[in-house]
Symmetry: C2
Subunit: 259 residues, 2 copies
Amino acid sequence: MSLTDHPRTAPLPLRRRFLQDTGMELQRCTVCGIRGQSICNAINDKELEILAQASSRLTFPPATTLIEEGSPAIAFFNVTKGTVKLFKSLPDGRRQITGFADVGHFLGLTNARTYSFGAETVDTVQVCRFLRPQLETLLTDYPLFERRLLTEITGELAEAQEQMLLLGRKTARERIASFLLARMMPPSPHADSAVEGQMVSLPMTRVDIADYLGLTIETVSRTLSALRREKIITGTDNHGIRVLAVSRLEDLASGQDNR
Amino acid sequence: MSLTDHPRTAPLPLRRRFLQDTGMELQRCTVCGIRGQSICNAINDKELEILAQASSRLTFPPATTLIEEGSPAIAFFNVTKGTVKLFKSLPDGRRQITGFADVGHFLGLTNARTYSFGAETVDTVQVCRFLRPQLETLLTDYPLFERRLLTEITGELAEAQEQMLLLGRKTARERIASFLLARMMPPSPHADSAVEGQMVSLPMTRVDIADYLGLTIETVSRTLSALRREKIITGTDNHGIRVLAVSRLEDLASGQDNR
DNA sequence: GGTCATTGTTGATATAAATCAACGACAAGT
DNA sequence: ACTTGTCGTTGATTTATATCAACAATGACC
């Protein structure tokens, strides 16, 4: 199956009803705050209304299924707010989260007629949805859009390879260290310099972290506690942690230093 | 870094001297037996000489380094014969093979200025090499070529996600079963029907299998022995195995049946 | 303000796979 | 034909992490 197939349109497989933003469709993309970070950036300012016509903006509450594993692949999403988790499952319920799609990332690209993975919102999520025929049109009419998509997916593949190294060869401690580093926010210029340590945002639960790192929730919890005890990280808030010793964490992540 | 960067040309990082096919360059692609299976298929018959000019065909002995981890990303390869392994390593030598590129597959695509992975031949390998500026030209001038590449890499990503599920959540037995199934040859019409069982080609060593599946060589060896003992597979040849019970193996691979 | 469900933490024990170790099969070279 | 090195197999033991179990913290809801 190739990307050039045009499957018939069908209702989106959603467990809950979603919210659809109304009005001002034609202006939406022009004012999109994250266009600079996303594939939409590849489309000319003057032609933005084409993008607006091709997409619709939707808002979903936490824990909403965006993509059901094995369901018909009819849409493609670009995340404009929040975090979406992508995963694959085994018949007995074991699950592997293959990635978190944060702001600016896309999801839903596939060659097959059905999705080989699932997707669920972690927190409140806003996306731009492109139906497949619309995506085809953009790809064909805007070479820069296609090139940008190729670049993005090449990056995804590199991340996937890094994650395979983590899952296949790293210890629990190394996995947690790598995860925290990968999710570390770049130090913002407006950062509260009175509070020390680099912020790490963890909107997902311990279950999600465990399913992403190929561990159990107990091991995740114990390892985070150990790092806290060793003053490498701080913070009692479950969804926000601060890294006190970035370089220690970097050594840990690459297996330089274990104790 | 984007695909549109043109890094300066530099000598290829090869431990050994490679063999370069000479003469008849312009005809080479026309007679390429595997074009139908590869990205080159996206280029029109009449324009094949453009492809021939953009690429050079090279032959390498087993265990040749095609790509050194971290070296400048100057080339892109299309495998026309043999098998190449792709991998990532940790400073202490732990290694994860992220994939095997068999006939028809490409390798070497990256957004960065350097490769984030290594590549080494498993057996005798023949490739078509495209230097990066040449690849750029093809991508820009032949939309079908670019589309084909996007389709291929989308498939690679799906495979990577499947492998993450394997590495993060499957048992040793499930990993071996999945691996054998994935490498099972499609039953050829000329197959020797006197010999029962589906052929599985394993050109790589036990070390490579272990590094691909996130196991040790001992576990790989023990698990294969167990499957042989249970009459699910046969064959004493280390690089060729026959699957006797495909459906048993499928159940095993998806965690349905373990004993 | 109490009940209940959800999420996370910590401790005790079990286990799958790693590690350590010995050896067999085979091919290359002398 | 013997040595040497590579590769794979099998057995004994260790260990990192899973599993099992109890409990604490939090927030939703009546």
